[in-house]
Amino acid sequence: MPRKLRSIPGAAAALALAVITVTLPIVPVPAAAQESVEKAIEQYRQDLQGGNPAELWEARGEEIWNTPRGPKHASFKSCDLGLGPGIVKGAYAQLPRYFPDAGRVLDLESRLVWCMVNQQGFTHAEATKVTFGKGSRKRSDLEALTAYVVAQSDGTKMNVSLADPHVRGMYEIGEKMFFYRAGTHDFACATCHGSDGKRIRLQDLPNLTKKADAQRAYTSWPAYRVSQGEVRTFQWRLHDCLRQQRFPDLIYGSDASIALTTYLAARANGAAYAGPGMKR
C-alpha cells in the first residue's frame, strides 16, 4: 500500500509520545519482562494509532531531498537510486545494485553519499560527518534521507537482482562474511543468527539462514528505536552488531558493509518491504 506522510502536527504528537514513553526498559530487562516488553511496545503502537515517530525523520528527509544544497547547489532530484534521477518510489526494494557511474555496487546509504559527493559537491568527510545521529543537537541527514526513501517502498516486494555479476559477487562475499568467525569471542553473524528460536538474555534472535526470518528481519529495517529515540538505518544495524561481535569498527558505506547488506537484502526477496519499522 502506498504510504502517505502524516501531517507534521500528527507526527509531532507522535514524537511527544515517543519522548514520554522512551523509558521503556532496555537490557537487562527486569524479572518476567519478555512478555511485558512486547506488550509495552504493542501498547505504544496502539497509542500512536498506527503512527511511527519515524514519520518525523521521513518529513525532514523529504525536505532535504528537495532542497538544493552543497557547493554545486544541487538537490537529490538528480540523484539516481537505480530507477532514474529523483525517483524514490520502489527504489529501496531493489537495492543494493550496481551503479555504472560509480563503478561499484552500492546500498541506499552509500548511494546517498555518492550523490552528495558527486552531484552536490560535498567532500566525503562532510557527507559522512554524522552517520548516526544523537539527539536534536547532532542530527543525521543520512538517517532522515534514508527514512524518507525507504518509506516510499512500503508494500513493495523486495527484488534485489543477482543477475549482474558485480551484485552476485558481493552476495557471495556477504555470505562468506556472515559465517566468518573471528575476534576475541570467535563470533560470526551466524553465531547468533544461525539457529531457530534462540534468544540472548530476553531478546529474540532471528535465524537469518531461514528465508522467513530473513525476510521479516530485513523488511523491518530501518526502524525507529524506542530506546534510543532515533531512526536507525541498516548500516547502523550492521555496525552495532559487529561492535558486539568484538570486530573492529565497520566503516560506513564500506564494501564489506555493502556485501553483507546485499546478502541479507537478497535473502529477503519476495517479501513486501514494511519499513521504517519500530523496535524496542
Partner: protein, 217 residues
C-alpha cells in the same frame, strides 16, 4: 576517503590470496572448493579494507586462527568427525591449569562475572575487566530470569554432576577453551583468548561448583 577497492585490484588480491590458499590446502580442490577458496580470499581482502581500528579492537581481530577458519565452514552443520577431532585436540593442548592448582574462587564474584556483558568491544574501556556474560546464553541461578537460550541450562550443575575434583577440572577447562570439548561450539574460549584472567575463571568455576552457590541451591 571512500574505502573502495577497484575491480582490477580486488581481482589481483583475490588471485594472489587464492593462490596462497591453494598452496596451503595442497592444490587439490574440486572446482566448488576452488571457488569457495577464491571467494574466501576476496572476503578477507575486502574486510581488511572495510574496517578501521578503534580502541582496543585492531584490524588483527579479523585474522583467524585454525579453529576459527575451520569453524567458519561449519556454522550450520556440525564438522565431520575428523575435523572435529583435530579442532578439539588442538584446543585441548592449549588448556592451561593454574600453577598453584587452585580451581575454585568466590562464587559471589563469579555471579558478577556471569552477569557482566562488558568487555573487548571497541566501545569498552580496556582498563576495566571483561565479563563473561554467561546469562546471555545460559540459565544459571534461578533468581535471574533475564537469561538467553543459546546454551543449555546450568542450573544445579555441580549438584547434579557431583562436587568432584575431576568435574572442577572439567569446568575450568570448558570455560578456558570450550572448543576442546565441542568443536565449533558457539561458546567463546575465555581463557585461551584472554577474555578472563585465571582469577576470574576460578570465580566462575565456583559459581558452578560451589555447593553454596545459588546455582546449586
Amino acid at each position: 576517503m571512500i574505502p573502495r577497492i577497484s575491480g582490477t585490484r580486488l581481482a589481483g588480491i583475490a588471485v594472489l590470496l587464492a593462490g596462497a590458499a591453494a598452496i596451503l590446502y595442497g592444490c587439490a580442490g574440486t572446482p566448488a572448493e576452488d571457488k569457495s577458496a577464491s571467494v574466501e580470499a576476496q572476503t578477507i581482502a575486502m574486510m581488511k579494507e572495510s574496517f578501521k581500528a578503534h580502541g582496543q579492537a585492531g584490524l588483527d581481530r579479523l585474522d583467524q586462527d585454525d579453529t576459527q577458519r575451520l569453524c567458519s565452514k561449519y556454522s550450520t552443520t556440525p564438522p565431520p568427525a575428523a575435523v572435529a577431532k583435530k579442532i578439539e585436540g588442538e584446543n585441548l593442548a592449549k588448556v592451561r591449569y593454574p600453577a598453584d592448582g587452585k580451581l575454585m574462587g568466590d562464587w559471589k564474584k563469579g555471579e558478577k562475572i556471569a552477569q557482566l556483558g562488558r568487555g573487548m568491544q571497541f566501545s569498552d574501556d580496556p582498563a576495566k575487566p571483561a565479563g563473561a556474560n554467561c546469562y546471555a546464553c545460559h540459565p544459571l541461578a534461578p533468581k535471574e530470569l533475564s537469561y538467553g537460550t543459546m546454551g543449555p541450562s546450568l542450573y544445579q550443575f555441580g549438584k547434579k554432576r557431583g562436587y568432584t575434583e575431576e568435574n572442577r577440572r572439567y569446568v575450568w577447562a570448558k570455560v578456558y577453551d570450550a572448543e576442546a570439548f565441542s568443536a565449533c561450539t558457539n561458546m567463546p574460549r575465555f581463557g585461551e583468548r584472554h577474555i578472563l584472567t585465571d582469577e576470574q575463571i576460578r570465580d566462575v568455576v565456583a559459581l558452578l561448583m560451589d555447593p553454596e552457590s545459588p546455582v546449586n541451591r
